[in-house]
């Protein structure tokens, strides 16, 4: 697909940074604030922000947003969640009653590293993005504590999962959109062109810290 249109959920969070990043990577972008906005797009990004505010979006449209996202995902639309976005996509949120779309077979722990003074940046090795390490910024980040059998782990930090993919769903617990390195967004765009399942899937693993 040439010049795809990528929607960025624009309820709250750093959606402008994601729009900039995905445009730098070669796509067009659009802000998603209404249920109807989801109809015209080829892929969707759920940005960083506060996951409790995103649930308001679902409330605003009578709980149909998560249902629509489920339909989009089943039809193969690539969806990428960063940080808070990974919480919105997870099947399980540890220790908390919170709604999510449940589109990805992962368990996440919110604010897993603690308050902002524990937020950090580090370089990650991400094989799929090439040899150059990737500057990853973690802001009050969640951890992916376990993944199901259909999920490919793409990057880890301190033995916890920081990036993973399950077919057309991609998550990072860090924020590539606030750096000038566009490789994660380019990788996500490549998922639009090749919507097939990833070639290899690692068996289920449960990590604890």
């Amino acid at each position: 697909m040439s010049n795809p249109l990528v929607g960025v959920l624009a309820i709250q969070g750093d959606f402008a940074e994601h729009r900039h990043a995905i445009e730098q990577a070669g796509a067009r972008s659009a802000e998603i604030r209404h249920l109807r906005d989801l109809e015209k797009i080829d892929a969707l990004i759920i940005p960083g922000g506060e996951s409790t505010t995103i649930n308001k979006f679902d409330d605003n449209f009578g709980g149909q947003v998560f249902a629509t996202l489920n339909d989009c995902a089943k039809n193969g639309m690539p969806i990428y969640g960063t940080c808070m976005g990974s919480i919105v996509l997870a099947t399980h949120i540890e220790g908390r009653e919170q709604r999510s779309t449940g589109l990805m077979d992962i368990t996440v722990r919110r604010n897993a590293y603690g308050p902002q003074k524990k937020s950090f940046e580090t370089y990650l090795d991400i094989k799929e993005l090439g040899a150059e390490p990737f500057l990853a910024i973690f802001i009050r980040a969640p951890q992916i504590v376990s993944v199901g059998s259909g999920v490919t782990v793409m990057a880890t930090v301190n033995d916890t999962i920081a990036m993973a993919r399950q077919k057309n769903i991609l998550v990072t617990t860090f924020h590539p959109e606030i750096t000038s390195d566009m490789r994660v967004h380019e990788y996500f765009l490549s998922m639009i062109k090749k919507p097939e399942a990833p070639a290899t899937a690692t068996p289920a693993l449960a990590l604890s810290k």
């Binding site: 624009a10 309820i11 709250q12 969070g13 750093d14 959606f15 402008a16 940074e17 604030r33 960083g48 922000g49 506060e50 409790t52 505010t53 308001k56 605003n60 940080c83 808070m84 908390r96 919110r110 604010n111 603690g114 308050p115 902002q116 003074k117 524990k118 937020s119 950090f120 940046e121 580090t122 370089y123 910024i137 802001i139 009050r140 930090v157 301190n158 924020h175 606030i178 750096t179």
Partner: protein, 305 residues
């Protein structure tokens, strides 16, 4: 002590870098940060969709009414608020009071507001914010003041407005002053920048950077007098990244409903139909006081420079 910048962890990860500090406010964009004085209010704020809460002892309207010296909140109260919500918690320190800031950082707040709403501890010097691991937000009335604070290490700016009045006029004045000066700067010839920096009283390198990027190098919210959904949308349309609401919510007749309405208005700031809908039947707004009626000693925005 945890106030050393960019502490190196054993595994190569770094905390407290400029990038990490500036990134937290980026995640708050498009959101509403609400003043709360206890855990119960913090939960209401979170439930309404606030992207963060600001812990303080008294809301600005009460500080005005009560008079006296306004200081950092009791650490016990701040800790209870941190325990009660999952969203980021900010807290206010007095201008120049770096020890209050050290205490707040040790408590685990996510961001410190060096705020003119509290009684200043230093009339000449602000806190050296580079020394801290967590980000600071500071108020400004114009571009020069904003760039001085950023020069000292602020990772987020907000308009000062006139807190505790429910009168949005000063927030509008300050937002227009900052955003207007940025527009003016963009068409200014390079040879004029040094003189402009001198006139603003701002660091030259930051003036140059603002010209190149066409925006402040940090996130810029509106604050001070926002009381209605329409007020929030007004500031968003003027071009700020989000809003703080202080006395406007918990001094109104129906805090939860008003808080939800302001959150929605901040997302749908460009959609008059949504704004009309959320503005219906909100109950009594906070009792306002016009900023113009304040005597010079009652004006908070002139604190700091």
């Amino acid at each position: 002590m945890a106030t050393k910048q960019a502490e190196k962890k054993q595994d190569g990860a770094q905390v407290g870098t400029e990038r990490v500090k500036k990134a937290l406010p980026q995640m708050l964009k498009g959101g509403v940060i609400m003043d709360v004085v206890n855990a119960e209010q913090a939960k209401i704020a979170e439930e309404s969709g606030a992207c963060a809460v600001m812990a303080l002892e008294r809301v600005p309207a009460d500080i005005r009414a009560d008079g006296g010296v306004a200081r950092m909140s009791d650490p016990e109260l701040v800790s209870k608020i941190i325990e009660s919500v999952s969203i980021p918690v900010m807290a206010k320190a007095r201008i120049g009071h770096f020890v209050e800031a050290q205490i707040l950082e040790s408590l685990g707040v996510d961001c410190i507001d060096e705020s003119e709403v509290l009684t200043p501890a230093d009339e000449e010097f602000h806190i050296d914010k580079h020394k801290f691991t967590i980000p600071f937000v500071c108020g400004a009335r114009n571009l020069g003041e904003a760039l001085r604070r950023i020069g000292e290490g602020a990772a987020m700016m907000r308009t000062k407005g006139e807190a505790g009045t429910g009168d949005v006029v000063e927030a509008v004045r300050h937002a227009r002053a900052i955003l207007g000066a940025i527009k003016k700067l963009q068409v200014m010839p390079d040879e004029e920048l040094m003189t402009y920096a001198r006139d603003l009283g701002a660091p030259y390198e930051l003036v140059k950077k603002v010209k190149e990027e066409g925006k402040l190098p940090v996130v810029n919210f509106a604050a001070g007098g926002i009381a209605t959904p329409a007020d929030a949308a007004l500031l968003m349309q003027l071009g700020v990244d989000g809003v703080f609401v202080g006395s406007g919510i918990f001094k109104s007749g129906n805090p939860l409903k008003r808080a939800q309405a302001i959150v929605k208005a901040t997302t749908y700031f460009n959609d008059p139909e949504v704004l009309a809908d959320v503005s219906r039947n909100l109950g009594e707004p906070m009792v306002g006081r016009t900023a113009q009626s304040l005597s010079p000693e009652e004006t908070l925005a002139v604190r700091g420079w």
